[in-house]
Symmetry: C2
Amino acid sequence: MSPTTPTPASAKREQLLDTAWSLFCRNGYRAVGIDTVLAEAGVAKMTLYNHFSSKEDLIAAAMEKKGAETLAGLDRLIAAGRSPQKRLLAVFDWLAGWLESDNFTGCAFLKAVGEYTAAGDKPRQAATAFKQAMQDRIETLCREAGLKSPALLARQLILVIDGATLHADMHANPGYAADARAIAKALIEAAAG
Amino acid sequence: MSPTTPTPASAKREQLLDTAWSLFCRNGYRAVGIDTVLAEAGVAKMTLYNHFSSKEDLIAAAMEKKGAETLAGLDRLIAAGRSPQKRLLAVFDWLAGWLESDNFTGCAFLKAVGEYTAAGDKPRQAATAFKQAMQDRIETLCREAGLKSPALLARQLILVIDGATLHADMHANPGYAADARAIAKALIEAAAG
DNA sequence: CGGAAAATAGACAGACCGGTATATTTTATT
DNA sequence: AATAAAATATACCGGTCTGTCTATTTTCCG
């Protein structure tokens, strides 16, 4: 109710999540220490451990936040599509826009899977949860478009998306988005017949 | 008493490379310390630093060795294929065999890209070199099969392969190999017409 | 056998790590 | 203005990290 408070949730907490995400995304998780995050965020150490119980907790929280934001942005782009097929292909427009963006540094969810290899690790769990949510959305789009085997197709499409993301990062070349889109079109046409 | 085998290339060195590979592959690079590798390999620290100048050097050397072995094994499988198309699809048989193997723990090359994000990092360079060699081989197979746009097709196929590898690791499910193969068949058929 | 090369053990350095404890200051609400 | 909550600075802990040094032992080979 107070007009001065912009966010009910702590602003420091959000600052922490954002800078943590960008640092981890750019340099990897284990390569970046807590102190680096704190310095860049301009936050004291005790504030961090007041909001999160551990570094892995911070990582998982950042992944959940960015995952939700990403899905929300994607949903907006999907909703703008006028036909079911257009809505499905909008995912690949979104992909291209991301890979071509200046601050693209690979997918932090995929990196989390590589660095946290135990099934119980929170970052890995957060990553698989996000990818699953993404796949579910795509499957829904496939079903709404009346395509055959929507579950299989969704698995294939997300596989293509992540493959393109990886190679775009590895070779510093956003052109893989177009390759992925071409695959998607072929698969969709085959599933439409 | 000279025992059985005096290997010309240092046996300790090979031991080091093999155990390093398996440990890094299973747990990630920064998560595994030098001492762990040394203990598991049964090798003294000075022996390591006598053969390699740093941990990253050891990693890159292990990647080069395993990369060469992998390509050699793949080449054998390809050579067994009787038609050009069969030879191309043999790559996906190889993929399925790998993803289904008991000791599958994801692709250490892809993990290296995630952990070593600077363009000058040796592990990253070793990873991109291997993936490029793989892509070149596939492109040759596409060209020998008389397919259209072999370079584009090779990019797409390797993208599919790595996407499947990633998701098979993430969800502990080798079934993505079959999905990848289905995509490959569709792309190859489209490029054959 | 004997000497050179390879490998060993083990201590050690210097830095960095995640996380805690304490005491103080800022901020926000009433 | 009073008070409670949030955030701060700073010092510190035990542990781990890569890499080095020295001195000793094992192995290879002519």
